[in-house]
């Protein structure tokens, strides 16, 4: 962590009350604008004086970005809806309980009261080398300090690293991918809708961004189709602490059964790469198979194919394998 100072660098603060005025501000200030949702990621950056935007656009006054609304047989969740509101929403609890569990696993009750679902999926990585403000690849430099022989990289990536080995720290993202959610993005040019698994960008494509959001764009809502409503859900997060911690690895799976065989499954993991990863190889392998130990073991082995651990994070390989096994099995082991 960098040294947190008492005073943030000077910026202009804007508090729009509509999506249109927020977009107009983002357009006007371009790359100098900073989108402020719950502030939990933002204030770290600003107080560390690592990020120095010229304008901060605070979305807390935009009512249209808040709340959970029915949409067909699914739901539309405003990007500024707090994680607590997501957890407590009766339809989320009844039909999409995997998202409830994932949101409830994030951080602490106080943070969930303030943190938003849009912020949770759009937050920056927690790599401390990057957040310390050093000139790493992700910050526009030419080195990854976390991928050196002496680096402390216990929490970093085991899959799809490309120069940068930072991971995505979101808990809700894998649940949204498992639910086949869509991210609704607005800009002055209009609306575009992106599948949840395509919302995130790896370092191979753009090493300085975590999401597809471009300058002037705003995530306005997340749509949950009814496709997976009421499916068998599994979410599990492994972290160093039970509360107020980011995942080392998490897994989310939605499964539809046909008798005792798996009819279809969507499964995603996070904490192992720069983006949450959907695991289509696992989904294809388990389709039509019995939900038993043999299927779970095969799925776990598939999930870790291509994993390249760093100096201090080899433990993530069996952790990922075991979490995927449990998700496919659908039950956590019981301990005496």
């Amino acid at each position: 962590m960098g040294v947190i100072r008492d005073v943030m660098p000077a910026f202009e603060l804007f508090q729009p009350t509509s999506i249109d005025s927020a977009l107009e501000l983002l357009d006007r200030h371009g790359s100098g604008a900073w989108i402020l949702a719950g502030g939990l990621d933002s204030f770290d950056w600003l107080k560390d004086r690592i990020k120095r935007p010229s304008a901060v656009v605070d979305l807390s006054g935009v009512a249209d970005l808040k709340g959970v609304r029915p949409m067909g047989d699914g739901l539309e969740i405003g990007a500024m809806t707090t994680l607590t509101e997501v957890v407590r929403h009766p339809v989320v609890k009844e039909k999409f309980s995997i998202l409830m569990k994932a949101a409830e696993a994030a951080a602490s009750p106080q943070i969930r009261n303030q943190g938003t679902i849009g912020g949770n999926v759009s937050q920056d990585t927690r790599c401390w080398y990057y957040r310390a403000g050093w000139s790493c690849y992700r910050a526009g430099g030419n080195i990854c300090y976390a991928d050196t022989p002496t680096a402390i990289n216990r929490e970093h990536a085991i899959l799809h690293a490309d120069r940068c080995v930072a991971v995505n720290p979101s808990d809700t993202s894998p649940a949204l991918i498992a639910l086949q959610a869509e991210m609704v993005i607005h800009s002055r040019d209009g609306e575009r809708v992106v599948p949840a698994e395509e919302y995130f960008i790896g370092p191979g494509v753009d090493i300085t961004r975590m999401t597809v959001l471009r300058t002037g764009e705003l995530l306005t809502s997340i749509r949950l189709p009814g496709t997976w409503a009421g499916a068998h859900f599994y979410f599990e997060k492994v972290a160093d602490r039970n509360v107020w911690d980011f995942p080392l690895v998490n897994v989310a799976a939605a499964t539809v059964m046909s008798g005792d065989t798996i009819d279809r499954m969507r499964i995603a993991v996070n904490g192992v790469a720069a983006t949450p990863l959907r695991l289509p190889a696992v989904e294809n392998a388990v389709r039509g198979k019995k939900r038993d130990e043999a299927t779970a073991v095969a799925a776990g082995d598939l999930a870790i194919a291509g994993a390249v651990p760093l100096h201090h994070n080899a433990y993530k390989v069996p952790m990922l394998r075991n979490l995927v096994r449990r998700a496919v099995r659908g039950t956590e082991p019981t301990f005496a």
Partner: protein
């Protein structure tokens, strides 16, 4: 416009990170500006070509020459086109993401870099052992030819020397491209040690931060220079009056008439 970008090491020291990508746009602008300026000059000027009657006379006296004069061997042509493919891949994978076209480019980039390196190594050996090594280089001895070519470009009839196998512009271009390519390949090979490949064990500490910065800057400068140079090369290859040279890089030969019209048979003895 910035030229270089700087970062801070964990020890608080300023270090070079790479060039400013503003230089890419500057190189693109320079390349196209040269293209427009040259094309305009060629439209408006009265540059001097060897007179058709003079060429007829020469051709009549040199009927002993074959109808087709071999200019580029198959090996030389293969090298040229492999290098061209590698160069275009390198430039596109390097600069399209900077221009906003995002895709996973790193693996394509270093693989194309290895192809370019291998083709250059091949070319050095081939040119040294099997070709007339010195025919492509320029030096003080070429001053009279430079003067004569400039006068011809200005529309004056002069007796100065005609080119040997390669026109003077071609040799000057070769010199600049050799320098740029050697810088980009050498720095690129070092930079490969910083990314994951199946070829090397990664070693980000191979050089000091300052030396890494200089390596990235050298790679960037040579890279953006190559953008302008490739624009100029493609432009000349497509110009109607140069098409006979381009064609020879495809077919390997030029006609006896082209040989006599554009070259000095004393300096390039056709076999």
């Amino acid at each position: 416009m910035d030229i270089l970008t700087w970062g801070r090491t964990p020890w608080g020291e300023w270090m070079l990170t790479h060039i400013s990508w503003d230089l890419l746009w500057a190189s693109l602008f320079a390349g196209f500006a040269f293209l427009v300026a040259h094309a305009s000059y060629m439209l408006l000027s009265a540059h001097r070509k060897r007179d058709a009657a003079e060429t007829d006379r020469l051709e009549a006296t040199r009927a002993d020459l074959p109808v087709r004069i071999a200019r580029h061997s198959l090996a030389a042509r293969l090298f040229h086109w492999v290098m061209a493919a590698a160069m275009f891949t390198l430039l596109l994978t390097a600069f399209l993401p900077i221009a906003g076209v995002k895709f996973p480019w790193v693996e394509w980039h270093w693989m194309a870099g290895l192809v370019l390196t291998a083709s250059i190594v091949f070319h050095i050996i081939h040119a040294t052992v099997w070709m007339d090594f010195w025919s492509i280089w320029v030096g003080p001895k070429d001053m009279p030819e430079l003067k004569a070519e400039l006068m011809r470009e200005l529309g004056r009839e002069v007796d100065g020397p005609k080119p040997g196998k390669y026109p003077l512009g071609n040799r000057l271009y070769h010199l600049v491209i050799v320098l740029s390519a050697l810088v980009v390949v050498t720095s690129g090979l070092f930079m490969m040690v910083r990314v994951r490949t199946p070829l090397f064990a990664r070693n980000p500490y191979l050089l000091s931060d300052a030396k890494w910065g200089l390596t990235y800057v050298a790679h960037g400068l040579a890279g953006v220079a190559l953008v302008g140079l490739v624009i100029a090369h493609v432009y000349f290859a497509m110009r109607p009056e140069k098409w006979w040279i381009t064609k020879s890089m495809i077919l390997g030969w030029i006609t006896r008439r082209q040989y006599l019209e554009h070259h000095d048979p004393q300096r390039w003895v056709a076999r």
